[in-house]
């Protein structure tokens, strides 16, 4: 178990998540992709912490990542609910007013 | 942790702890059956656990069309295993199998697993009634989990540590139940909640043909039901180091006191099942968020103030 190993695994998780976030049409599935990306970030941060600078300050960063994940999920579910109520849909392609 | 005075027991004792947990679950089932029999005006019920288990073991295993067998089995088996994970951090007097510095969080993780496990058991059967039961449990979970978490926070604040050994050590003079009764009561509500027990059993209620249990048969049903009782026992046992002073008490050795206190809490929980009605998930949602949560947050605040003022 080295820093490189942890980072490669984290990169793999991030890449799989990126694929999901880009390719899925259903909002909830897109969220799952995002979660998986954050999962990778979390693992990478934990690896950096142990192998580079193991002091408690670094742990705060991981707490922030976890908090970001919570916010992402709460807002994602709220938007999905709204989208479903207004459009009777759960597809990202049906909600593109903001696309340029 | 050396400073908490806990002695880590050899791995071989894990077997003893597991057997003890099963024995206490056996006691709980027997007590429940005896009380049920007495309520009906008949005597007996003493052999209920054996006869029930034997009947389920002889039963033929049913399955449903297009059941998601993998998730179904994961749900049932997980219910059975969970309680054993909790017991690993419960000290028996001075001895404990493991005393991580995050023991309380460990307990919390295992009890949150129940959310997934009950829902998976409901989902796996591919049956409407089962799934409705699973949803009912999740609705209950949303209401009891947050108060339960804040109730777990109170002893941790008072001890200044998330380790179970430190929490026991901090109750040297005064048991936590004395000055955090609200947290203790809310904790017991949470225990009945994650055991799908008593008032929190609408997920298994008769009006939806047994809910999560509807399609469970034979060994699957035995494992799930046993898991509920094991969780009830583990929850009762965890209240001892958390609120009831761990193994402290006169004459008897520490481990015996832990057992006595566990059985006492367990007996009260089993006895209460007959006194409390089922609570509907939609009703309890508001009770959980409007009554229990503020009450236990105020309790945490009081505990913090007492700790900060050095009382």
């Amino acid at each position: 178990m080295t820093l490189e190993a942890v980072l490669v695994v984290a990169a793999a998780l991030f890449a799989v998540g990126l694929y999901g976030a880009l390719s899925q049409q259903v909002v909830v599935m897109v969220m799952m992709g995002l979660e998986l990306m954050i999962n990778g970030v979390l693992l990478a941060a934990a690896g950096f912490w142990l192998f580079l600078a193991p002091d408690p300050t670094g742990q705060v960063l991981l707490l922030v990542v976890l908090a970001a994940m919570t916010v992402e999920m709460a807002m994602g579910f709220a938007v999905a609910t709204l989208l479903h109520r207004r459009r009777q849909t759960d597809m990202t392609d049906m909600a593109e007013e903001l696309s340029g | 942790m050396p400073e908490s005075g806990m002695v880590i027991a050899a791995v071989g004792w894990a077997g003893v702890a597991g057997i003890l947990l099963c024995a206490l679950a056996y006691v709980a089932v027997t007590l429940d059956a005896v009380l049920s029999a007495r309520q009906l005006g008949v005597r007996g019920g003493w052999t209920a656990p054996l006869s029930r288990a034997a009947r389920l073991l002889r039963q033929r295993q049913r399955t449903t069309v297009a059941a998601d067998t993998l998730l179904w089995r994961v749900g049932g088996a997980g219910m059975f295993i969970g309680a054993f994970l909790i017991v690993a951090v419960i000290p028996m007097g001075r001895w404990v199998l493991a005393d991580p510095d995050v023991g309380i969080v460990w307990f919390n993780v295992v009890d949150v697993m129940v959310w997934a496990l009950v829902w998976l058991t409901g989902w796996g059967a591919n049956s409407t009634h089962s799934l409705v039961g699973g949803y009912r449990f999740l609705a209950h979970g949303l209401a009891y989990e947050l108060p339960l978490m804040f109730a777990l926070v109170a002893p941790a604040i008072a001890a200044g540590s998330l380790g179970v050994g430190d929490v026991v050590a901090a109750q040297d003079g005064l048991w936590f139940v004395v000055w955090m009764p609200v947290a203790f009561l809310v904790y017991l509500v949470g225990v009945t909640g994650f055991s799908v027990w008593g008032p929190f059993a609408p997920a298994l209620a008769a009006d939806i043909a047994g809910g999560v249990l509807a399609e469970l048969s034979a060994v699957d049903r035995l494992v799930f039901q046993a898991g509920r009782y094991l969780f009830l026992v583990a929850g009762a046992a965890f209240s001892v180091p958390l609120f009831l002073g761990g193994g402290s008490g006169p004459v008897l050795p520490g481990w015996a006191w832990v057992l006595v206190k566990t059985v006492a809490v367990l007996a009260v929980l089993v006895w209460l099942r007959r006194k409390v009605p089922l609570v509907r998930p939609d009703r309890f949602m508001e009770i959980g968020w409007m009554v229990l949560l503020p009450a236990v947050v105020v309790q945490d605040l009081l505990v913090s103030l007492i700790v900060v003022s050095g009382g």
């Binding site: 820093l3 942890v6 799989v16 599935m29 408690p56 976890l66 994940m69 807002m75 | -």
Partner: protein, 187 residues
């Protein structure tokens, strides 16, 4: 040695479960595959000697996935298990982007000369972390608090379809409130 083996086993589980999320055709399986991936990463964080954060990750994510499963069942209009269909768009671009991202990140991880570790793991990390967020790094937590509150408010505003006028009437005087599902306290 044993930690190394455990780490790689968990790594395989985490990534395989992550792939499974987008491959399996059952909503429940997809959701709980993601939960499994999170549990594997949580245990890896435990292996990286961060007890509190590893457990918190598992705790949060199992709860979140239990809720996520409900949303999946609620919003997926069709059941892919009954009607196999492809719910994806721009698959080639997505695969390209993700492979590119992996190659970039992994080569970075392997090629960058990482600095030497400085400092040592604190004796009682959980306690040190607690003191840190209640002491020097309190500002972070103080900011996170309002962010969470804002999230709750925004989430409710977006998701709720009934306002207080629906509940209490136009003059806000109706008691008890007119709710489709009356709660236990009878407000």
């Amino acid at each position: 040695m044993l930690t190394g083996v455990a780490f790689w086993v968990l790594a395989v589980v985490a990534v395989a479960a992550g792939v499974a999320v987008f491959v399996v055709d059952s909503m429940a399986r997809a959701t709980y595959a993601l939960a499994l991936s999170f549990i594997a990463v949580g245990v890896q964080i435990l292996l990286l000697e961060q007890g509190y954060l590893g457990l918190i990750t598992i705790l949060m994510m199992v709860m979140e996935m239990a809720v996520m499963a409900i949303y999946m069942v609620m919003f997926m209009g069709m059941n892919p298990a009954l009607m196999p269909m492809d719910m994806t768009h721009g698959k080639k671009t997505a695969i390209g982007a993700s492979v590119g991202a992996f190659v970039l990140l992994a080569s970075g991880a392997l090629l960058i000369p990482w600095p030497q570790r400085r400092g040592a793991v604190p004796e009682d990390l959980t306690r040190a972390l607690g003191l840190e967020i209640m002491g020097e790094k309190m500002l972070v937590m103080a900011v996170l608090g309002p962010v969470m509150v804002a999230t709750i408010v925004a989430g409710v505003v977006l998701a709720a379809h009934r306002s207080r006028y629906d509940r209490f009437g136009d003059d806000l005087r109706r008691r008890p409130a007119d709710d489709p599902q009356p709660g236990g306290v009878g407000r």
